[in-house]
Amino acid sequence: MSLIAVVLMVFVGLPHVTSATAQQMPPPQALKNEGIATPGGSVRPPVGAVNLPGSASSVRRPGDPAAGGSVPPPDHARGDQSISDEFWSRIRHGQRGDVVLHSPGNRVLIQSSGEDWRLLRNRQVARYGAMALLGVLAAIVLFYLLRGRIKIKGGRTGRVIPRFSLAQRITHWFAATLVVLLGISGLIILFGKSILLPVLGPQAFSLVASAAMQGHNLFGPLFLAAVLGLLVFFLKGNVPRAVDVSWFFKGGGLLGGHASAGKYNAGQKIWFLLTIVLGFAICVSGFVLLFPDALADRTQAQLANLAHGIAALIFIAAGLGHAYIGSLGMEGAFEAMSVGTVDENWAKEHHDLWYAEHKGEATTDYVRAEVSAGAAGDGLMRGVRP
Protein backbone atom coordinates (compact mmCIF):
# COMPACT_ATOMS: atom_id res chain seq x y z
CA MET A 1 0.00 0.00 0.00
CA SER A 2 2.80 2.37 0.84
CA LEU A 3 4.36 1.63 -2.52
CA ILE A 4 1.16 2.56 -4.30
CA ALA A 5 1.00 5.74 -2.29
CA VAL A 6 4.54 6.64 -3.30
CA VAL A 7 3.74 5.97 -6.93
CA LEU A 8 0.69 8.16 -6.72
CA MET A 9 2.49 11.01 -5.10
CA VAL A 10 5.03 11.32 -7.86
CA PHE A 11 2.79 10.90 -10.88
CA VAL A 12 3.63 13.97 -12.91
CA GLY A 13 0.81 16.41 -13.16
CA LEU A 14 -1.61 14.14 -11.41
CA PRO A 15 -3.10 15.05 -8.08
CA HIS A 16 -2.59 12.91 -5.03
CA VAL A 17 -4.98 10.19 -4.07
CA THR A 18 -4.71 6.99 -2.13
CA SER A 19 -5.26 3.71 -3.89
CA ALA A 20 -8.12 2.90 -1.55
CA THR A 21 -9.84 6.09 -2.60
CA ALA A 22 -9.26 5.31 -6.25
CA GLN A 23 -10.65 1.80 -5.98
CA GLN A 24 -13.76 2.74 -4.07
CA MET A 25 -14.44 5.97 -5.88
CA PRO A 26 -17.81 6.34 -7.69
CA PRO A 27 -17.81 7.95 -11.14
CA PRO A 28 -16.49 11.53 -10.89
CA GLN A 29 -19.63 13.07 -12.37
CA ALA A 30 -21.74 11.46 -9.67
CA LEU A 31 -19.43 12.82 -7.01
CA LYS A 32 -19.57 16.29 -8.46
CA ASN A 33 -23.35 16.20 -8.48
CA GLU A 34 -23.26 15.25 -4.83
CA GLY A 35 -21.00 18.15 -4.08
CA ILE A 36 -18.07 16.01 -3.04
CA ALA A 37 -14.52 16.90 -3.90
CA THR A 38 -13.02 14.67 -6.52
CA PRO A 39 -9.30 14.29 -6.91
CA GLY A 40 -8.16 17.03 -9.17
CA GLY A 41 -11.67 18.34 -9.53
CA SER A 42 -13.27 21.36 -7.98
CA VAL A 43 -15.53 21.47 -4.96
CA ARG A 44 -19.05 22.08 -6.12
CA PRO A 45 -21.80 22.34 -3.56
CA PRO A 46 -25.12 20.68 -4.37
CA VAL A 47 -27.53 22.70 -6.47
CA GLY A 48 -29.34 25.26 -4.36
CA ALA A 49 -26.90 25.09 -1.51
CA VAL A 50 -24.99 28.16 -2.64
CA ASN A 51 -26.44 31.56 -2.23
CA LEU A 52 -26.22 33.81 -5.23
CA PRO A 53 -24.49 37.24 -5.04
CA GLY A 54 -26.67 39.81 -3.43
CA SER A 55 -28.30 37.40 -1.13
CA ALA A 56 -27.13 36.80 2.39
CA SER A 57 -24.36 34.32 1.94
CA SER A 58 -21.72 32.70 3.99
CA VAL A 59 -20.18 31.15 0.91
CA ARG A 60 -17.50 33.24 -0.72
CA ARG A 61 -15.92 32.63 -4.06
CA PRO A 62 -12.23 32.11 -3.51
CA GLY A 63 -9.97 34.92 -4.56
CA ASP A 64 -12.75 37.39 -5.11
CA PRO A 65 -12.11 40.35 -2.74
CA ALA A 66 -15.34 41.97 -3.85
CA ALA A 67 -17.16 38.99 -2.57
CA GLY A 68 -15.12 38.99 0.56
CA GLY A 69 -12.61 36.39 -0.63
CA SER A 70 -9.09 36.83 0.58
CA VAL A 71 -7.34 33.62 -0.49
CA PRO A 72 -6.08 33.51 -4.07
CA PRO A 73 -6.89 30.36 -6.06
CA PRO A 74 -4.12 27.81 -6.48
CA ASP A 75 -2.27 28.05 -9.77
CA HIS A 76 -3.50 24.70 -11.05
CA ALA A 77 -7.17 25.37 -10.38
CA ARG A 78 -9.31 24.98 -13.49
CA GLY A 79 -12.55 26.35 -12.23
CA ASP A 80 -15.35 24.04 -13.18
CA GLN A 81 -13.16 21.82 -15.38
CA SER A 82 -12.27 18.45 -14.00
CA ILE A 83 -9.35 16.33 -15.03
CA SER A 84 -10.53 13.41 -12.93
CA ASP A 85 -12.07 11.57 -15.88
CA GLU A 86 -8.86 11.83 -17.84
CA PHE A 87 -6.87 11.02 -14.72
CA TRP A 88 -8.81 7.86 -14.04
CA SER A 89 -8.77 6.82 -17.65
CA ARG A 90 -5.00 7.14 -17.85
CA ILE A 91 -4.47 5.08 -14.73
CA ARG A 92 -7.01 2.51 -15.81
CA HIS A 93 -5.22 2.03 -19.11
CA GLY A 94 -1.81 1.48 -17.60
CA GLN A 95 -0.38 5.00 -17.82
CA ARG A 96 3.25 4.93 -16.75
CA GLY A 97 4.49 7.62 -14.41
CA ASP A 98 7.71 8.61 -12.73
CA VAL A 99 8.46 6.86 -9.49
CA VAL A 100 10.91 7.18 -6.67
CA LEU A 101 11.43 3.41 -6.42
CA HIS A 102 13.07 2.41 -9.66
CA SER A 103 11.47 -0.91 -10.42
CA PRO A 104 9.85 -1.12 -13.85
CA GLY A 105 6.66 -2.67 -12.48
CA ASN A 106 6.16 0.18 -10.03
CA ARG A 107 5.53 2.68 -12.80
CA VAL A 108 2.10 1.28 -13.53
CA LEU A 109 -0.51 2.05 -10.91
CA ILE A 110 -3.25 -0.28 -12.12
CA GLN A 111 -2.37 -3.19 -14.35
CA SER A 112 -5.72 -4.16 -15.83
CA SER A 113 -4.52 -7.47 -17.27
CA GLY A 114 -3.91 -8.55 -13.69
CA GLU A 115 -7.64 -9.04 -13.36
CA ASP A 116 -7.58 -11.36 -16.39
CA TRP A 117 -4.76 -13.31 -14.77
CA ARG A 118 -6.62 -13.51 -11.48
CA LEU A 119 -9.76 -14.84 -13.14
CA LEU A 120 -7.80 -17.31 -15.25
CA ARG A 121 -5.90 -18.61 -12.25
CA ASN A 122 -8.81 -18.77 -9.82
CA ARG A 123 -11.36 -20.10 -12.28
CA GLN A 124 -9.89 -22.02 -15.20
CA VAL A 125 -6.59 -23.26 -13.76
CA ALA A 126 -7.94 -24.05 -10.32
CA ARG A 127 -11.16 -25.59 -11.64
CA TYR A 128 -9.63 -27.78 -14.36
CA GLY A 129 -6.66 -28.53 -12.16
CA ALA A 130 -8.90 -29.81 -9.40
CA MET A 131 -10.88 -31.83 -11.93
CA ALA A 132 -7.68 -33.36 -13.31
CA LEU A 133 -6.37 -34.32 -9.88
CA LEU A 134 -9.69 -35.74 -8.73
CA GLY A 135 -10.07 -37.52 -12.07
CA VAL A 136 -6.68 -39.19 -11.74
CA LEU A 137 -7.42 -40.20 -8.14
CA ALA A 138 -10.79 -41.63 -9.21
CA ALA A 139 -9.15 -43.50 -12.10
CA ILE A 140 -6.57 -44.99 -9.73
CA VAL A 141 -9.24 -46.12 -7.28
CA LEU A 142 -11.34 -47.54 -10.12
CA PHE A 143 -8.35 -49.32 -11.60
CA TYR A 144 -7.48 -50.79 -8.23
CA LEU A 145 -11.05 -51.97 -7.67
CA LEU A 146 -11.30 -53.53 -11.12
CA ARG A 147 -7.80 -54.87 -11.61
CA GLY A 148 -6.52 -55.17 -8.07
CA ARG A 149 -2.82 -55.28 -7.32
CA ILE A 150 -0.78 -56.50 -10.27
CA LYS A 151 0.84 -59.65 -8.93
CA ILE A 152 3.97 -61.39 -10.05
CA LYS A 153 2.26 -64.10 -12.14
CA GLY A 154 4.93 -66.71 -11.72
CA GLY A 155 5.29 -65.91 -8.01
CA ARG A 156 8.53 -64.91 -6.34
CA THR A 157 11.53 -67.01 -7.26
CA GLY A 158 13.62 -66.10 -4.24
CA ARG A 159 16.32 -64.89 -6.63
CA VAL A 160 16.91 -61.15 -7.06
CA ILE A 161 18.72 -59.01 -9.63
CA PRO A 162 20.44 -55.66 -8.86
CA ARG A 163 18.55 -52.84 -10.59
CA PHE A 164 19.06 -49.36 -9.16
CA SER A 165 22.25 -47.94 -7.65
CA LEU A 166 22.38 -46.08 -4.37
CA ALA A 167 23.02 -42.82 -6.25
CA GLN A 168 19.88 -43.36 -8.32
CA ARG A 169 17.75 -44.24 -5.30
CA ILE A 170 19.01 -41.32 -3.23
CA THR A 171 18.30 -38.93 -6.11
CA HIS A 172 14.83 -40.43 -6.54
CA TRP A 173 13.90 -40.13 -2.88
CA PHE A 174 15.41 -36.67 -2.56
CA ALA A 175 13.21 -35.57 -5.46
CA ALA A 176 10.20 -37.43 -4.05
CA THR A 177 10.60 -35.74 -0.65
CA LEU A 178 10.66 -32.34 -2.30
CA VAL A 179 7.69 -33.17 -4.52
CA VAL A 180 5.64 -34.06 -1.45
CA LEU A 181 6.66 -30.90 0.45
CA LEU A 182 6.24 -28.61 -2.55
CA GLY A 183 3.10 -30.38 -3.76
CA ILE A 184 1.28 -30.02 -0.46
CA SER A 185 2.30 -26.40 0.05
CA GLY A 186 1.56 -25.56 -3.60
CA LEU A 187 -1.91 -27.10 -3.48
CA ILE A 188 -2.63 -25.10 -0.31
CA ILE A 189 -1.58 -21.93 -2.12
CA LEU A 190 -3.75 -22.72 -5.16
CA PHE A 191 -6.82 -24.28 -3.59
CA GLY A 192 -6.58 -23.17 0.03
CA LYS A 193 -8.75 -20.11 -0.32
CA SER A 194 -11.66 -22.04 -1.78
CA ILE A 195 -11.28 -25.28 0.21
CA LEU A 196 -9.51 -24.57 3.51
CA LEU A 197 -10.72 -21.04 4.23
CA PRO A 198 -14.39 -22.02 4.73
CA VAL A 199 -13.33 -24.95 6.96
CA LEU A 200 -10.58 -23.35 9.03
CA GLY A 201 -11.80 -19.78 9.18
CA PRO A 202 -9.75 -16.71 8.26
CA GLN A 203 -7.34 -16.74 11.20
CA ALA A 204 -6.26 -20.37 10.99
CA PHE A 205 -6.20 -20.27 7.21
CA SER A 206 -4.00 -17.20 7.28
CA LEU A 207 -1.52 -19.15 9.43
CA VAL A 208 -1.60 -22.20 7.15
CA ALA A 209 -1.31 -20.11 3.98
CA SER A 210 1.60 -18.10 5.37
CA ALA A 211 3.42 -21.30 6.36
CA ALA A 212 2.72 -22.89 2.96
CA MET A 213 4.08 -19.88 1.11
CA GLN A 214 7.27 -19.75 3.20
CA GLY A 215 7.83 -23.48 2.86
CA HIS A 216 7.14 -23.44 -0.87
CA ASN A 217 9.57 -20.59 -1.48
CA LEU A 218 12.22 -22.24 0.65
CA PHE A 219 12.12 -25.76 -0.81
CA GLY A 220 11.52 -24.59 -4.39
CA PRO A 221 15.14 -23.91 -5.36
CA LEU A 222 16.19 -27.35 -4.11
CA PHE A 223 13.85 -28.91 -6.66
CA LEU A 224 16.12 -27.70 -9.45
CA ALA A 225 18.98 -29.73 -7.96
CA ALA A 226 16.66 -32.75 -7.77
CA VAL A 227 15.59 -32.43 -11.42
CA LEU A 228 19.20 -32.09 -12.53
CA GLY A 229 20.06 -35.18 -10.47
CA LEU A 230 17.23 -37.14 -12.07
CA LEU A 231 18.42 -36.10 -15.52
CA VAL A 232 21.99 -37.21 -14.80
CA PHE A 233 21.19 -40.49 -13.08
CA PHE A 234 18.22 -41.69 -15.12
CA LEU A 235 18.99 -40.53 -18.67
CA LYS A 236 20.73 -43.78 -19.56
CA GLY A 237 18.10 -46.31 -20.57
CA ASN A 238 15.37 -43.70 -21.05
CA VAL A 239 16.12 -43.00 -24.70
CA PRO A 240 13.17 -44.13 -26.92
CA ARG A 241 13.52 -47.43 -28.80
CA ALA A 242 11.43 -49.20 -31.43
CA VAL A 243 10.14 -51.67 -28.86
CA ASP A 244 8.41 -48.80 -27.05
CA VAL A 245 5.91 -48.45 -29.92
CA SER A 246 4.67 -52.04 -29.59
CA TRP A 247 4.58 -51.60 -25.78
CA PHE A 248 2.15 -48.75 -26.37
CA PHE A 249 -0.06 -50.66 -28.78
CA LYS A 250 -0.35 -53.45 -26.23
CA GLY A 251 -1.17 -50.92 -23.50
CA GLY A 252 1.79 -52.12 -21.48
CA GLY A 253 0.26 -55.59 -21.38
CA LEU A 254 -3.09 -54.42 -20.05
CA LEU A 255 -4.80 -54.93 -23.41
CA GLY A 256 -3.68 -58.53 -23.61
CA GLY A 257 -0.45 -60.20 -24.61
CA HIS A 258 3.04 -59.63 -23.31
CA ALA A 259 4.55 -56.20 -23.85
CA SER A 260 8.31 -56.34 -24.19
CA ALA A 261 10.44 -53.67 -22.55
CA GLY A 262 14.05 -52.87 -21.79
CA LYS A 263 15.17 -51.41 -18.47
CA TYR A 264 12.41 -48.80 -18.74
CA ASN A 265 9.15 -49.31 -20.60
CA ALA A 266 7.51 -46.64 -22.75
CA GLY A 267 5.32 -45.46 -19.88
CA GLN A 268 8.34 -44.93 -17.65
CA LYS A 269 10.13 -43.10 -20.46
CA ILE A 270 7.22 -40.72 -20.85
CA TRP A 271 7.18 -40.16 -17.10
CA PHE A 272 10.91 -39.42 -17.22
CA LEU A 273 10.39 -36.97 -20.09
CA LEU A 274 7.51 -35.28 -18.24
CA THR A 275 9.61 -35.06 -15.09
CA ILE A 276 12.46 -33.34 -16.88
CA VAL A 277 10.40 -31.03 -19.12
CA LEU A 278 7.78 -30.11 -16.53
CA GLY A 279 10.40 -30.06 -13.79
CA PHE A 280 12.46 -27.44 -15.60
CA ALA A 281 9.32 -25.47 -16.53
CA ILE A 282 8.30 -25.47 -12.87
CA CYS A 283 11.79 -24.44 -11.75
CA VAL A 284 12.22 -21.63 -14.30
CA SER A 285 8.75 -20.19 -13.67
CA GLY A 286 9.29 -20.64 -9.93
CA PHE A 287 12.51 -18.64 -9.97
CA VAL A 288 10.72 -15.90 -11.93
CA LEU A 289 8.09 -15.79 -9.21
CA LEU A 290 10.73 -15.62 -6.49
CA PHE A 291 12.10 -12.38 -7.97
CA PRO A 292 9.08 -10.54 -9.44
CA ASP A 293 10.65 -7.11 -8.99
CA ALA A 294 13.40 -8.03 -11.43
CA LEU A 295 10.88 -8.34 -14.26
CA ALA A 296 10.06 -5.63 -16.80
CA ASP A 297 6.37 -5.74 -15.91
CA ARG A 298 3.86 -7.71 -13.93
CA THR A 299 2.54 -9.54 -16.99
CA GLN A 300 5.63 -11.73 -17.02
CA ALA A 301 5.10 -12.71 -13.41
CA GLN A 302 1.46 -13.51 -14.15
CA LEU A 303 2.39 -15.67 -17.13
CA ALA A 304 5.03 -17.40 -15.02
CA ASN A 305 2.43 -18.02 -12.32
CA LEU A 306 0.05 -19.63 -14.81
CA ALA A 307 2.82 -21.75 -16.37
CA HIS A 308 4.01 -22.75 -12.89
CA GLY A 309 0.55 -23.82 -11.78
CA ILE A 310 -0.38 -25.68 -14.96
CA ALA A 311 2.95 -27.53 -15.20
CA ALA A 312 2.80 -28.45 -11.50
CA LEU A 313 -0.77 -29.73 -11.75
CA ILE A 314 0.09 -31.96 -14.73
CA PHE A 315 3.20 -33.15 -12.88
CA ILE A 316 1.28 -33.95 -9.70
CA ALA A 317 -1.50 -35.74 -11.63
CA ALA A 318 1.04 -37.90 -13.49
CA GLY A 319 3.04 -38.35 -10.29
CA LEU A 320 0.01 -39.82 -8.52
CA GLY A 321 -0.12 -42.55 -11.16
CA HIS A 322 3.63 -43.11 -10.85
CA ALA A 323 3.44 -43.35 -7.06
CA TYR A 324 0.53 -45.79 -7.25
CA ILE A 325 2.07 -48.18 -9.74
CA GLY A 326 5.40 -48.00 -7.95
CA SER A 327 3.97 -49.02 -4.60
CA LEU A 328 0.47 -50.34 -4.00
CA GLY A 329 -0.39 -51.04 -7.63
CA MET A 330 2.30 -53.54 -8.51
CA GLU A 331 3.88 -56.30 -6.47
CA GLY A 332 7.66 -56.12 -6.44
CA ALA A 333 7.98 -52.63 -7.87
CA PHE A 334 8.70 -50.75 -4.62
CA GLU A 335 11.71 -52.92 -3.79
CA ALA A 336 13.48 -51.63 -6.86
CA MET A 337 13.66 -48.18 -5.27
CA SER A 338 13.89 -49.22 -1.61
CA VAL A 339 16.60 -51.92 -1.68
CA GLY A 340 17.68 -51.62 -5.30
CA THR A 341 16.88 -55.20 -6.36
CA VAL A 342 13.94 -56.92 -8.07
CA ASP A 343 12.70 -60.47 -8.13
CA GLU A 344 13.76 -62.48 -11.16
CA ASN A 345 10.17 -63.22 -12.21
CA TRP A 346 9.18 -59.58 -11.85
CA ALA A 347 12.00 -58.64 -14.18
CA LYS A 348 10.99 -61.37 -16.66
CA GLU A 349 7.35 -60.27 -16.71
CA HIS A 350 7.78 -56.50 -16.88
CA HIS A 351 11.21 -55.88 -18.41
CA ASP A 352 12.02 -59.02 -20.36
CA LEU A 353 14.66 -57.45 -22.62
CA TRP A 354 16.48 -56.05 -19.61
CA TYR A 355 16.11 -59.38 -17.82
CA ALA A 356 17.70 -61.21 -20.76
CA GLU A 357 20.80 -59.05 -20.34
CA HIS A 358 21.01 -59.46 -16.56
CA LYS A 359 19.65 -62.92 -15.74
CA GLY A 360 23.19 -64.08 -15.04
CA GLU A 361 23.29 -61.73 -12.04
CA ALA A 362 20.26 -63.32 -10.34
CA THR A 363 21.16 -64.58 -6.90
CA THR A 364 19.54 -65.90 -3.74
CA ASP A 365 21.99 -63.84 -1.67
CA TYR A 366 19.79 -60.82 -0.99
CA VAL A 367 22.43 -58.95 1.00
CA ARG A 368 25.12 -59.37 -1.64
CA ALA A 369 22.66 -58.29 -4.36
CA GLU A 370 21.67 -55.20 -2.37
CA VAL A 371 25.29 -54.23 -1.79
CA SER A 372 26.06 -54.84 -5.44
CA ALA A 373 23.07 -52.77 -6.51
CA GLY A 374 24.12 -49.99 -4.15
CA ALA A 375 27.55 -49.78 -5.71
CA ALA A 376 26.64 -49.96 -9.38
CA GLY A 377 22.95 -50.70 -9.90
CA ASP A 378 22.61 -52.93 -12.92
CA GLY A 379 25.97 -51.81 -14.26
CA LEU A 380 24.64 -48.85 -16.20
CA MET A 381 25.80 -46.49 -13.46
CA ARG A 382 29.01 -48.35 -12.63
CA GLY A 383 31.56 -46.09 -11.04
CA VAL A 384 28.98 -43.55 -9.81
CA ARG A 385 28.47 -43.85 -6.10
CA PRO A 386 27.44 -41.58 -3.27
Binding site: I170, L178, A211, M213, Q214, L218, L222, V339
Partner: protein, 216 residues
Protein backbone atom coordinates in the same frame (compact mmCIF):
# COMPACT_ATOMS: atom_id res chain seq x y z
CA UNK B 1 -1.00 -21.96 25.57
CA UNK B 2 1.51 -19.78 23.72
CA UNK B 3 2.44 -18.07 26.96
CA UNK B 4 3.07 -21.45 28.56
CA UNK B 5 5.21 -22.59 25.61
CA UNK B 6 7.25 -19.41 25.58
CA UNK B 7 7.38 -19.10 29.35
CA UNK B 8 7.60 -21.96 31.86
CA UNK B 9 8.07 -24.73 29.28
CA UNK B 10 10.97 -22.88 27.69
CA UNK B 11 12.77 -22.56 31.02
CA UNK B 12 12.12 -26.20 31.91
CA UNK B 13 13.48 -27.35 28.54
CA UNK B 14 16.49 -25.07 28.83
CA UNK B 15 17.26 -26.34 32.34
CA UNK B 16 17.01 -29.99 31.25
CA UNK B 17 19.27 -29.20 28.30
CA UNK B 18 21.97 -27.42 30.30
CA UNK B 19 22.00 -29.92 33.16
CA UNK B 20 21.85 -32.87 30.76
CA UNK B 21 24.71 -31.66 28.56
CA UNK B 22 26.83 -30.79 31.62
CA UNK B 23 26.19 -34.22 33.08
CA UNK B 24 27.14 -35.99 29.83
CA UNK B 25 30.30 -33.93 29.46
CA UNK B 26 31.32 -34.54 33.06
CA UNK B 27 30.74 -38.25 32.60
CA UNK B 28 32.91 -38.22 29.50
CA UNK B 29 35.72 -36.22 31.03
CA UNK B 30 35.84 -38.19 34.26
CA UNK B 31 35.71 -41.57 32.55
CA UNK B 32 38.60 -43.71 33.73
CA UNK B 33 41.26 -44.66 31.22
CA UNK B 34 42.75 -48.13 31.18
CA UNK B 35 46.30 -48.18 32.51
CA UNK B 36 48.83 -47.88 29.72
CA UNK B 37 52.18 -49.02 31.09
CA UNK B 38 53.99 -48.79 27.79
CA UNK B 39 56.40 -45.99 27.04
CA UNK B 40 55.16 -43.24 24.75
CA UNK B 41 56.59 -43.74 21.25
CA UNK B 42 56.73 -40.01 20.65
CA UNK B 43 57.33 -37.19 23.13
CA UNK B 44 54.01 -35.46 23.73
CA UNK B 45 52.49 -38.03 21.40
CA UNK B 46 49.17 -37.82 23.21
CA UNK B 47 48.64 -34.12 22.65
CA UNK B 48 49.90 -34.29 19.09
CA UNK B 49 47.68 -37.27 18.35
CA UNK B 50 44.67 -35.49 19.80
CA UNK B 51 45.25 -32.44 17.63
CA UNK B 52 45.97 -34.53 14.56
CA UNK B 53 42.81 -36.57 15.02
CA UNK B 54 40.70 -33.45 15.42
CA UNK B 55 41.92 -32.05 12.12
CA UNK B 56 42.28 -35.30 10.22
CA UNK B 57 38.88 -36.70 11.11
CA UNK B 58 37.21 -33.52 9.92
CA UNK B 59 38.33 -33.94 6.32
CA UNK B 60 38.65 -36.95 3.98
CA UNK B 61 42.07 -38.50 4.44
CA UNK B 62 44.03 -41.67 3.79
CA UNK B 63 42.84 -42.01 0.19
CA UNK B 64 39.22 -42.14 1.27
CA UNK B 65 38.03 -39.06 -0.59
CA UNK B 66 36.02 -41.06 -3.14
CA UNK B 67 34.33 -43.14 -0.50
CA UNK B 68 33.55 -40.27 1.82
CA UNK B 69 32.89 -37.41 -0.59
CA UNK B 70 29.10 -37.75 -0.32
CA UNK B 71 29.15 -37.59 3.47
CA UNK B 72 31.80 -34.92 3.46
CA UNK B 73 29.71 -32.59 1.28
CA UNK B 74 26.24 -33.31 2.65
CA UNK B 75 27.50 -33.45 6.23
CA UNK B 76 29.15 -30.04 6.04
CA UNK B 77 26.20 -28.57 4.12
CA UNK B 78 23.86 -29.61 6.90
CA UNK B 79 26.03 -28.82 9.91
CA UNK B 80 27.38 -25.47 8.72
CA UNK B 81 23.93 -24.43 7.49
CA UNK B 82 22.34 -25.36 10.80
CA UNK B 83 25.09 -23.69 12.83
CA UNK B 84 24.63 -20.45 10.90
CA UNK B 85 20.85 -20.58 11.27
CA UNK B 86 20.92 -21.27 14.99
CA UNK B 87 23.40 -18.55 15.88
CA UNK B 88 22.99 -15.86 13.25
CA UNK B 89 19.38 -15.89 12.01
CA UNK B 90 17.97 -12.46 12.87
CA UNK B 91 15.04 -13.77 14.97
CA UNK B 92 17.44 -16.04 16.89
CA UNK B 93 19.88 -13.22 17.63
CA UNK B 94 16.99 -11.14 18.96
CA UNK B 95 15.72 -14.08 20.99
CA UNK B 96 19.15 -14.75 22.49
CA UNK B 97 19.49 -11.09 23.40
CA UNK B 98 16.05 -10.91 24.92
CA UNK B 99 15.62 -14.27 26.64
CA UNK B 100 19.13 -15.58 27.33
CA UNK B 101 21.61 -12.74 27.67
CA UNK B 102 19.36 -9.79 28.36
CA UNK B 103 21.74 -7.47 26.53
CA UNK B 104 23.08 -6.74 23.06
CA UNK B 105 25.38 -9.64 22.18
CA UNK B 106 26.93 -7.76 19.31
CA UNK B 107 26.62 -10.60 16.83
CA UNK B 108 25.77 -9.79 13.23
CA UNK B 109 22.30 -10.73 12.05
CA UNK B 110 21.99 -12.63 8.79
CA UNK B 111 20.33 -10.75 5.97
CA UNK B 112 17.34 -12.57 4.52
CA UNK B 113 19.17 -13.83 1.42
CA UNK B 114 21.91 -15.35 3.56
CA UNK B 115 19.30 -16.98 5.77
CA UNK B 116 17.71 -18.56 2.68
CA UNK B 117 21.04 -19.91 1.41
CA UNK B 118 21.95 -21.35 4.82
CA UNK B 119 18.49 -22.91 5.14
CA UNK B 120 18.65 -24.41 1.64
CA UNK B 121 22.05 -25.95 2.41
CA UNK B 122 20.91 -27.29 5.77
CA UNK B 123 17.72 -28.83 4.40
CA UNK B 124 19.41 -30.35 1.34
CA UNK B 125 22.15 -31.81 3.53
CA UNK B 126 19.75 -33.24 6.11
CA UNK B 127 17.42 -34.83 3.52
CA UNK B 128 20.32 -36.32 1.55
CA UNK B 129 21.95 -37.71 4.68
CA UNK B 130 18.69 -39.23 5.89
CA UNK B 131 17.80 -40.76 2.51
CA UNK B 132 21.27 -42.32 2.50
CA UNK B 133 20.64 -43.71 5.97
CA UNK B 134 17.40 -45.29 4.76
CA UNK B 135 18.78 -46.78 1.56
CA UNK B 136 22.39 -47.77 2.26
CA UNK B 137 22.43 -51.50 3.06
CA UNK B 138 24.95 -51.17 5.88
CA UNK B 139 23.86 -47.87 7.38
CA UNK B 140 20.22 -48.83 7.63
CA UNK B 141 21.21 -51.92 9.62
CA UNK B 142 23.22 -49.76 12.01
CA UNK B 143 20.44 -47.21 12.52
CA UNK B 144 18.04 -47.49 15.42
CA UNK B 145 15.07 -45.50 16.70
CA UNK B 146 17.36 -42.90 18.27
CA UNK B 147 18.88 -42.03 14.90
CA UNK B 148 15.50 -41.68 13.24
CA UNK B 149 13.99 -39.68 16.07
CA UNK B 150 16.98 -37.34 16.15
CA UNK B 151 16.73 -36.65 12.42
CA UNK B 152 12.98 -36.12 12.49
CA UNK B 153 13.12 -33.80 15.49
CA UNK B 154 15.86 -31.74 13.86
CA UNK B 155 13.91 -31.62 10.60
CA UNK B 156 10.73 -30.52 12.35
CA UNK B 157 12.58 -27.81 14.25
CA UNK B 158 14.11 -26.50 11.02
CA UNK B 159 10.83 -26.76 9.13
CA UNK B 160 8.71 -25.00 11.73
CA UNK B 161 11.36 -22.30 12.00
CA UNK B 162 11.32 -21.64 8.29
CA UNK B 163 7.53 -21.75 8.08
CA UNK B 164 7.47 -19.03 10.72
CA UNK B 165 9.96 -16.92 8.80
CA UNK B 166 7.41 -14.27 7.91
CA UNK B 167 6.92 -13.66 11.65
CA UNK B 168 3.28 -12.85 10.98
CA UNK B 169 1.66 -15.44 13.25
CA UNK B 170 2.32 -16.13 16.91
CA UNK B 171 0.94 -19.64 16.36
CA UNK B 172 3.72 -20.55 13.90
CA UNK B 173 6.33 -19.21 16.32
CA UNK B 174 4.75 -21.29 19.09
CA UNK B 175 5.00 -24.45 16.93
CA UNK B 176 8.66 -23.70 16.39
CA UNK B 177 9.28 -23.04 20.07
CA UNK B 178 7.51 -26.24 21.04
CA UNK B 179 9.60 -28.33 18.66
CA UNK B 180 12.78 -26.61 19.87
CA UNK B 181 11.86 -27.43 23.45
CA UNK B 182 11.28 -31.08 22.55
CA UNK B 183 14.69 -31.15 20.91
CA UNK B 184 16.38 -29.48 23.89
CA UNK B 185 14.93 -32.07 26.24
CA UNK B 186 15.81 -34.98 23.94
CA UNK B 187 19.30 -33.91 22.88
CA UNK B 188 21.36 -34.68 26.01
CA UNK B 189 20.05 -38.24 26.18
CA UNK B 190 20.49 -39.14 22.52
CA UNK B 191 23.22 -39.37 19.90
CA UNK B 192 22.55 -35.72 19.13
CA UNK B 193 24.83 -35.05 22.09
CA UNK B 194 27.65 -35.49 19.58
CA UNK B 195 27.20 -31.77 18.94
CA UNK B 196 29.08 -31.26 22.22
CA UNK B 197 31.09 -34.45 22.62
CA UNK B 198 32.54 -35.04 19.16
CA UNK B 199 35.63 -32.95 19.80
CA UNK B 200 36.37 -34.68 23.13
CA UNK B 201 35.78 -38.13 21.65
CA UNK B 202 38.03 -37.51 18.66
CA UNK B 203 40.74 -35.94 20.81
CA UNK B 204 40.72 -38.83 23.23
CA UNK B 205 40.95 -41.44 20.48
CA UNK B 206 43.71 -39.41 18.83
CA UNK B 207 45.61 -39.08 22.11
CA UNK B 208 45.45 -42.81 22.78
CA UNK B 209 46.80 -43.66 19.36
CA UNK B 210 49.24 -40.74 19.31
CA UNK B 211 50.93 -42.12 22.40
CA UNK B 212 51.45 -45.32 20.44
CA UNK B 213 52.97 -43.36 17.59
CA UNK B 214 50.14 -43.74 15.10
CA UNK B 215 47.03 -41.72 14.44
CA UNK B 216 44.52 -43.47 12.19
Amino acid sequence: MIKFIEGPLWYVALTVFIVGVAWRLMALLTMKRPNDLSEARLPRGGAGGALKALVQHSIPHGGNLGRTLYHFLTGYMFHIGLFILVLFAAPHVEFIQKHLIGADIGWPKLPRWAFIIAAEAAFAGLILLYVHRLTDPVKKQLSDIDDHLGVWLTFIVMLTGCLALQEAHAGLRAFHMLSVEALLIYLPFSRLIHAFTFAFARARTGATYGRRGFTP
